[in-house]
């Protein structure tokens, strides 16, 4: 089992506790070990802590207990009231959000090259060249000089993915990236993510699209009530879950779909 090979995990989340204020506990001792090359899809009911989990891994949240290791090194830990985050390790992780979060005052190309220039000190010319390549790869070659407001939701989300990839992340996080999209735009974004998956990019993803989860995941985690309820290959968790709560959830979701 992967769990036994300590230290070789890409992401190792131990006993993670996260609450918003004194009364709202979102994560209650969550454990996940993600191996290099894995594509983990996290599913579960709303309010079960899926998005919070991703935000914690991105280093966007304070935690109340537990730790996260990344690439075998200490990354996030709770020390008393404080959350200690290794910001150098954080730079190796990219994230795409539900609502695009492009910088609306910058052109698409400027969105792409801002971080490489400011974080790695890359020259404008070199960053532009890489940016153009990524845009072309994602079918957005002609959009470099457009502004976010001129793009469709699907295009914006592909730009957001491209922007994150400009920093050569070792792990990509996708937080419900198709939930805000019109149905006809979902496929183009999922195609880009599948393309990334085929290129071997490790990813952790929250989605409500079970068809997509089955297609992209190498592993599915069912998360509810702030803990991992079930964790296994997609055929098992989505097709023949062992846990009663997972089964109920899957039945409900697929029932709605049918």
């Amino acid at each position: 089992m992967a769990d036994m090979r300590d230290g070789s995990a890409l992401v190792e989340i131990r006993d993670l506790h996260k609450s918003y204020g004194p009364n709202i506990q979102v994560l209650k001792g969550l454990n996940i070990q993600m191996m290099p090359g894995e594509r983990v899809v996290v599913i579960g009911p709303s309010g079960g802590g899926k998005s919070t989990l991703l935000r914690v891994v991105m280093g966007l949240e304070q935690i109340q207990g537990g730790s996260v290791r990344f690439g075998g090194k200490p990354y996030i830990s709770a020390k008393g009231d404080k959350t200690v985050i290794d910001t150098e390790l954080r730079k190796q992780i990219g994230m795409v959000f539900q609502h695009y979060t492009l910088f609306p005052h910058l052109s698409i190309m400027e969105n792409l090259i801002l971080a490489p220039r400011k974080v790695h000190g890359e020259s404008r010319a070199s960053a532009r060249e890489r940016g153009q390549k990524i845009l072309e790869r994602f079918g957005l070659g002609a959009k470099a000089d457009a502004y976010p407001s001129q793009l469709s939701g699907g295009q914006k989300q592909r730009v957001a993915i491209a922007r994150a990839l400009m920093l050569d992340p070792k792990l990509m996080l996708f937080d419900e990236v198709t939930s805000a999209l019109d149905p006809e735009l979902v496929a183009e974004v999922e195609a880009v993510i599948l393309q990334l998956a085929e290129s071997g990019m490790p990813m952790m993803m929250v989605t409500h699209d079970m068809w997509f989860a089955r297609n992209v995941a190498s592993r599915v985690i069912f998360c509810a009530g702030g803990v991992v309820v079930e964790d296994g290959p997609p055929e098992q968790v989505l097709g023949d879950p062992r846990e009663e709560r997972t089964r109920e959830f899957i039945n409900r979701v697929f029932h709605i779909k049918a």
Binding site: R90, Y147, Q150
Partner: protein
């Protein structure tokens, strides 16, 4: 007494009116530039800074927003020189007063626009590993300034009109000249109508510009 209107009387005073307009424009432009800069700095300091600074600046902003501009003018024209023991020219006093007023108003505009840049933009900055300086300079501030532009233009138009109050403390602006001509000719209707028309001709394109900016500029740069 016949009430026939005779606007031709104004033709005798075009030079005086032009001089008054020039004073009004100079004063307004200067106070817009200085006041907006002051407001920007205060807006930033009130959005961060330490508690004492925030408190003092808050007091200043609320005082100038909550009292009549006319009284502020009187105060700075007549009380400030006594306190400081320095005489200012009318133009300097008016500039100080209207700048402080404009600064208070625009600091609130900037503060609101800073707050309107969503937390999601901050999240994106962090996810991209942007250093703190780049977060502020490249992402948050440009968006805040863009969002502030329509309100700033409105503030500027208001200041242009409110600047007529400096005539009450004896400054020879457009309003002051108009009042003088009106008193000397006993033709207040014609004179004040023309003065109002001059203000309008300048203010109207600016208020229209606010709409254009909102429709064109902001739509292009909004999410």
């Amino acid at each position: 007494m016949g009430m026939t209107l005779d606007f031709s009387i104004l033709l005798l005073f075009t030079d005086a009116l032009a001089l008054g307009l020039w004073t009004t424009l100079r004063l307004t432009l200067l106070c817009i530039v200085l006041g907006t800069t002051l407001g920007f700095v205060i807006g930033l300091l009130r959005s961060s800074g330490n508690a004492v600074v925030r408190g003092l600046l808050g007091l200043y902003v609320e005082l100038f927003r909550g009292t009549p501009v006319l009284i502020q003018l009187f105060w700075i024209f007549f009380c400030l020189p006594l306190i400081l023991g320095v005489e200012f020219s009318n133009f300097v006093s008016a500039t100080i007063a209207l700048t402080l007023y404009m600064g208070a108003i625009t600091s609130e505009t900037f503060r609101a626009s800073l707050r309107s840049v969503g937390r999601e933009q901050m999240d994106a900055c962090v996810a991209l590993g942007l250093p703190r300086r780049a977060q502020i300079v490249n992402v948050i501030l440009p968006q805040a300034v863009l969002r502030a532009v329509p309100t700033l233009l409105s503030n500027a138009v208001s200041l242009f009109k409110e600047s007529a109050l400096v005539s009450a403390v004896g400054m020879a602006d457009l309003m002051f000249i108009g009042q003088n001509i009106s008193n000397n000719t006993a033709r207040p209707v014609e004179v004040l109508t023309v003065v109002a028309a001059i203000y309008f001709v300048i203010a109207f394109p600016l208020t229209r510009a606010v709409t254009v900016v909102e429709q064109k500029l902001l739509r292009k740069f909004s999410a």
